[in-house]
Symmetry: none
Subunit: 401 residues, 2 copies
């Protein structure tokens, strides 16, 4: 939290506005045929105009070589140290299904799995049962109470679900039951410290109950739990930056991350154009907007180079609506790279552009991975994007006299 | 102090000489008409020669987006972490008027202010009274003694003054009386820890005295105190670098900062040429010179682009005297940027050049913000300037075997 501690005493409220546009998974790798990345292949006149008038560079969401998940990628962009602010898997999964976690809740990620007659795990994903089947089984497990603690079980997708333990004074520090490989028995949940003994005990009772309830539901005849965690208590963006911050995102995970740092989450439609329209509609009500575009990451994960190119072009087109409003600071970047060639998140540094009246332009006039190498911002940690945006919005006082 | 701890065991004394030329506020922003910064506009054949033979880059005094005050800007150049070495406001103000702070003194920054009949602050600066009036009022407050502690009150400028508490065993950890806004009463000084109770008590008595003494001096009918602090005990440059270091500066603030890290402060004349002449005169007596040129920062603060350009040219001209002496290492940089367009310090990275027989040249032959983007030093924290200068002066032994 070092950077936040530096910023908090010098941040100040002002009428200027900052828009942080996150094009999820934007960074890529060159197509073997053309030698150009997805972003370099796309025709992006608006992004190019912004970078020509602004300044650019490359960011590392965590550090060189580290492939970030969506949570650390976004927390870093919001200025929070992604390592010390790492979020438990249970909480993350709950956020991803828009579950309204309360302060004392303990959440765990669950898998329906298959165990054989000897009680050993034969398939950690129960043959990837359907989401419908998952919902039905969750309903059977949901709603019991153990030692005054309420058990809430919600389906996620296929074999995945969450369990939320709701009660007073629960500690989240218990081990996983998931042995992470087949051929072993599910592990007994153990407390990692004395205050977690009760939690471990309740969890083991819940697992025993589940085993009985699921007995006839082969292949989903057992559960595995992991990532027990509570909702983290981060300082809010209002605390740190004195910003009135709003999030526009179509996926629950990103809305949830925004809520964790105290942003208001705005209702929006499903398309990229809808999201920009929502920003326009609420423009006067906030001084910071986090606008999240999911589709490029999905195309990258699918390994669909051409679709990723088209979506980047679609974002570029929609961007004209934002440019016409003229916020004092526009930042365009991503939470990580998702090269179509790798079909997944990657460790490659992420292009970033910052457009403001007060930046020192760098002569770069194309927004791309290779052009950003020559950018005036250089290569820097993603946690410094917010201080730069704040500085360019003239929302930071001098440090020291 | 991490970097200093790394350097201290490997630094060694040698006959080579290092000159650190600080052109205060050197970095700028492009003029809207020409697209060139102050430095890019100036004709600087000597700086260009140095950079052509040397190596350059861009430094961040604190970190990206952070606008540094003069103290953190300079401490970083001297190699001291500007955040952990942040200096209290009271001490800084005392340094700025050449007040000889003793080790146990507690200094506070003071404002003469106006309070209304209800005792609420109506003007935090008492209508910016004249410096003469300030001196007169300081004399009235100066010299009292409370519980064996001597009170010293010195004028600074307009409504600003310093109070120094001189006595034994004083702790500086007390809160401010300045409410930082009008419409509120001056706050009671409170101890931030038990050992500071006596200090808080004495300060409150002093403020009560001042209120009585100033009663008939509307608009300066009250005082506000803040930034209580003691002179920090930094390791000296002799300790860390084994350098015999001298400072040449025309403003008390920079001489004071140099003293805090153990430099000798040399007498010098008021002009830029005088300062270079002083360096020449003492050249054989020291192996490190900090040469501070204030004028470019002042021109930047005044928003006078053209004057800043002219002063940079004047510095470049005077630089020939230094080049002719031929110190082994010349570093030219600044403590922060002061773009004339912003009329103040800014967060923009600062150009730096290093000239030595042992640098690895980078093909850059013009000293400017945009050229430094392509420099061999890259972009790096200002605290690493001293290790680089030391290395190029062959004053650092190998780290590890």
């Amino acid at each position: 939290m070092d950077s936040l501690e530096l910023i908090k005493p010098i941040s100040k409220s002002s009428p200027t506005k900052i828009v942080l546009l996150v094009i999820d998974g934007l960074g890529g790798l060159p197509h073997p045929r053309t030698g150009k990345t997805e972003l370099e292949t796309a025709d992006t006149p608006n992004l190019d105009q912004l970078v020509a008038e602004g300044v650019c560079g490359l960011i590392d969401p965590v550090s060189p070589g580290i492939t970030p998940g969506s949570a650390p990628g976004h927390l870093a962009l919001f200025g929070y140290d992604p390592v010390s602010c790492n979020i438990g898997r249970g909480v993350l999964e709950a956020i991803g299904v828009d579950f309204d976690l309360q302060r004392e809740d303990v959440a765990a990620r669950g898998n329906f799995c298959t165990v054989n007659e000897d009680g050993l795990v034969a398939d950690r994903r129960a043959g990837r049962i359907s989401t419908e089947k998952c919902a039905e089984l969750c309903q059977r497990l949901d709603g019991s109470e153990i030692e005054g603690v309420k058990l809430i079980v919600c389906p996620v997708k296929e074999h995945r679900f969450i369990t939320v333990f709701r009660g007073e004074g629960l500690a989240s520090g218990v081990s996983d039951s998931d042995p992470q490989q087949t051929g072993l028995a599910p592990k007994e949940i153990a407390p990692l410290s004395l205050p977690a003994e009760r939690m471990a005990n309740i969890t083991n009772q819940f697992i025993a109950q589940a085993k009985v309830i699921l007995d006839k539901h082969y292949p989903a005849n057992m559960i595995l739990l992991r990532g027990f965690s509570k909702r983290p208590q981060f300082p809010t963006m209002a605390d740190i930056y004195k910003l009135k911050a709003a999030a526009i995102a179509t996926y629950p995970m990103y809305r949830g991350l925004a809520k964790l740092v105290g942003m208001d989450v705005l209702e929006t439609g499903p398309t990229i154009e809808d999201e920009f329209e929502t920003l326009k509609q609420y423009y006067t009500d906030y001084d910071f907007f986090f606008l999240h575009i999911k589709q490029p990451d999905s195309a990258g994960e699918d390994g669909d180079f051409d679709r990723k190119v088209k979506i980047i072009e679609q974002v570029d087109n929609a961007l004209s609506r934002l440019i016409s409003i003229g916020p004092e600071v526009i930042v365009v970047t991503a939470d990580h790279s998702t090269p179509a060639l790798l079909k997944g998140h990657s460790w490659h540094p992420v292009p970033v552009l910052l457009h403001s009246k007060w930046c020192r332009p760098d002569g770069v006039d194309k927004f791309s991975e290779s052009a950003c190498l020559l950018g005036g911002l250089g290569r820097f940690p993603a946690t410094q994007v917010m201080p730069l945006a704040m500085a360019n919005a003239l929302k930071l006082a001098k440090f020291g006299a």
